[in-house]
Amino acid sequence: MHIISPVLWQFLVKWLTNFALFPPEASTIAPYADALYFFLILISLVGLVIVALLVAGFSIAYRAERNPVATHIEGSTLLEATWTIIPLALFMICFVWGALLYFRIYNPPTNAMNIYIVGKQWMWKAEHPGGQHEIDSLHIPINRPVQLTMISQDVFHSFSIPAFRVKREVIPGRYSTVWFEATTPGTYHLFCTQYCGTLHSQMIGQIVALKPEDYQAWTAGSTSGASLAQNGERLYASLGCNGCHSGQADARGPNLAAVYGAKLQLANGSAVTVDDAFLRDTILNPSMHVTAGYAPIMPTYQGQVSEEGLIDLVEYIKKLNSNYRIQQTLNTTQVSPSQTGAPLGTVAPNSGSGSTPGMVKP
């Protein structure tokens, strides 16, 4: 049995019993990616076999022993055209197929639930909207599209889930997104694939895909007591944002209610659609994004708010869009009794600039 070496024997047995050529297919994307992979393998095999047959066949048929004198052939335009056009056509199929897959992977469906990811040397932090925080792991429900909005606190990282066939660079100072829909409950690898310094290979974690009911239970059991928006509200107040963004007609800053998703006219003449990245950017580089009609007086908050804090603020401002009521109201804000359905005293959705929202203490 083990004449050579018991260690080697065990190793071989282990290898033969669990030898994977493909990672598990655990997302809706995975079968599409694998289909393209098999197609690419197929054309590679065909190409390789043709070249190998040509080289081996000619080497045998025209070796010097059998064919002592070479016959001179200049070339053939027809053949040149053949082996230009056929590979080109095959490569174009790969291009179109790949592009379709790329758009499928990087264009999230509109109903995706959003989770924030902050990467830093050398850990992954996940921030769920409900306020659940995780480090080096991510719990997600199956059969539901999940979008990740990711940012790095320091260097480039890359968020990779091989079982889902998705990956995206996590960039310092810029939000990037990726989405997936898990199909099979289980625990999968999470890797940082962009080299990020000493412990790059320790920047790993696990993706836990749960059945919807298990996910519910996990969410309920892991709450930190305050949602991201609630944290944002607290931060909003403590940074004194409401001093200017009070929502009043004579306020020095623009009204932030319903600003998320709106088209905004900027002082420099350009127009932008307000998204997460824009909100984050205006907090850090306000002078670059002055709304038309307002003076460029906002100071920068660069270095004063962590990436998690910025996520909280963005989440809070996003929620000002809806009739969302922040359940936990802080002492720093007063809710005006006349405002029904308004989330906060600072700004109220659907309230025109002429209305009088509750006053805010700085």
Binding site: K14, V55, S59, I73, S76, V155, R168, T198
Partner: protein, 553 residues
């Protein structure tokens, strides 16, 4: 087995009385030489030195990856090893390998010139290379650098306190060395061709080196700019790449890949030139579709400049620019396919013999085909998302750079060795080395494709245990591969003294470099050759040989 090798009678043969090797003696005559052949030999020695340093690092990396645990060395040491392996192998071995050694030696002879256009610039290029090597070795000795060979910002500018500036200066200087080599080749090929040597009578080796030279001259300055910006960012914090100062961290990658993608063509094109020469010589036939092969080199050089962003498909470039770059990437694959098919067709109705250079060339065709086709996987946008930054990438570029380029380099070194030294290498040993290299290479790098699809990230010091089996194969293969590379080192050195006397043209090849003595005179030719025949005209050679025999007899 028949062979085309025709050596002079060993009992009476001797090396020529005068040659570039014994024209002058002493260290000074080598260090201050303007002779392209001596400079080529200086390059040959220096790049071999760096190849074995880089190779030793690869060996240590593979040894560490034998087990999933980080047990052989500290993480920082591992990171420094793969960084230095990349820097040394790319900037100090692959980029100068074929152009600066073989190209330097044979291009002036192929076009029928006495030397390159600017001999002193050629010598300076070697000195710059040595300075670059010194900087790199200093960075290594002082404690290493762990940025990865890509020097990605802001990691390289703000987050590491290793010897980034020293290593970066090394690359900066090495860049100028390669610009000067490229400049010299362009001017030489344009201005110094012998009478009758028209563009379409040039050996294809000249065409492919010409294409690579254009890339060197136009691409390398951009790398220099990127590196200077990294140094300035590190030392005085100019903030071009720092988002906190309004800079763009992605800008660095655009600049870096604008050079470093064309750089892979700088590396592979001269190798393709070697393959054209070798395949033609050992099948006694003109290369099938000479013009198609010549222009495909130029097409690769041209398209090669417009595909750099395919390294950044997952970095948040806009979807539409990703589309354009993917399309262009597919287009650049076509000229490579054309070359492969033309080389295969050259064999048709040839009279093929299987000397060592030909075995290496066959190895090149097989491995480069796999390397090229897996490049299509990566150029295909959606597939790239899963495969990029994994071992699939590592396997892909090692198939192209090591399986392709290094095979071509070894093929060329064996092919021109008799010309360079006047002596033959031992044939049986070298055939064995070619086979060992091929087997070792496949065993090392093929499992890495599977590892990549399984998701194992590159540059990982430790990995999940389920990836171990494939890593063990890879490490075992690396051992075989190492033996395959050590063998030529040993028997080539042996052959310097004991090899059979080669005579002027042991392969019965048609290039002008073979129509003069081996090793050649310092001035290459006794009189300026006049070219009145097409490239790879074996009938002309046969007539000429017959004529010579009758005259003597």
């Amino acid at each position: 087995m028949s062979t085309i090798v025709s050596l002079p009678d060993q009992a009476t043969a001797s090396l020529p009385k005068r040659s570039y090797l014994n024209n002058e003696y002493g260290l000074k005559s080598w260090l201050l030489t303007g002779d392209h052949k001596r400079i080529a030999m200086l390059y040959l020695m220096s790049i071999t030195f760096f190849f074995f340093i880089g190779g030793a690092m690869a060996g240590l990396i593979r040894l560490e990856l034998l087990t999933p645990q980080p047990d052989l060395m500290a993480s920082d040491t591992y990171n420094k090893l793969f960084t230095m392996h990349g820097v040394i192998m790319i900037f100090l071995f692959l980029v100068p390998s074929v152009p600066a050694t073989i190209g330097n030696f044979v291009i002036p002879m192929m076009v029928g010139a006495k030397d390159l256009a600017f001999p002193k610039i050629n010598l300076m290029s070697w000195y710059l290379y040595v300075i670059a090597g010194t900087f790199t070795i200093s960075a290594l000795v002082l404690g290493g650098v762990d940025t990865g060979w890509t020097f990605t910002t802001p990691l390289s500018t703000h987050y590491l306190n290793t010897h980034v500036v020293t290593a970066a200066l090394g690359i900066f200087v090495a860049g100028f060395s390669s610009i000067f080599t490229g400049l010299n080749f362009i001017v030489t090929i344009h201005r110094m061709r012998a009478p009758g040597m028209t563009w379409f009578r040039l050996p294809l080796f000249c065409w492919s080196n010409y294409a690579a030279s254009i890339l060197m001259v136009l691409g390398t300055p951009v790398l220099a700019i990127a590196i200077v910006l990294v140094i300035l960012e590190r030392t005085i914090g100019i903030g071009v790449f720092d988002p906190a100062k309004g800079g763009d961290p992605l800008l660095f990658q655009h600049l870096f890949w604008f050079y470093s993608h064309p750089a892979v063509y700088i590396m592979i094109l001269p190798g393709m030139g070697v393959i054209s020469e070798v395949i033609s010589t050992f099948s006694r036939k003109r290369v099938f579709g000479y013009t198609a092969v010549a222009f495909s080199s130029v097409a690769i050089a041209l398209f090669g400049f417009f595909v750099w962003a395919h390294h950044m498909f997952i970095m948040g470039v806009s979807n539409y620019s990703a589309l354009v770059f993917s399309l262009l990437t597919m287009l650049v694959a076509v000229p490579s396919a054309i070359k492969i098919f033309n080389w295969s067709a050259t064999l048709y109705k040839g009279s093929i013999t299987f000397e060592t250079p030909m075995l290496y060339a066959f190895g090149f065709i097989g491995l480069f085909t796999i390397g090229g086709l897996t490049g299509v996987f990566l150029g295909s946008l959606g597939m790239d998302i899963h495969l990029t930054e994994t071992y699939f990438i590592v396997a892909h570029f090692h198939f192209v750079m090591v399986g392709g380029m290094l095979m071509a380099y070894l093929s060329g070194i064996h092919f021109w060795w008799p010309k360079m030294t006047g002596r033959m290498y031992p044939e049986a040993m070298s055939k064995l080395a070619a086979v060992v290299t091929f087997i070792g290479f496949n065993l090392t790098f093929f499992p890495q494709f599977i590892l990549g699809y399984l998701g194992m990230p590159r540059r990982y010091h430790a990995y999940p245990p389920e990836f171990q089996v494939l890593n063990v194969f890879s490490t075992a293969g690396a051992t075989v591969l190492g033996i395959g590379y050590l063998m030529p080192m040993i028997y080539m050195t042996w052959s310097l003294k004991y090899g059979a006397i080669a005579g002027p043209n042991p392969w019965q090849a048609t290039g002008l470099e073979w129509q003069t003595q081996s090793p050649p005179l310092t001035e290459n030719f006794i009189e300026t050759p006049i070219v009145d025949y097409e490239a790879y005209d074996y009938d002309w050679l046969a007539n000429k040989t017959k004529h010579e025999v009758t005259t003597v007899g």
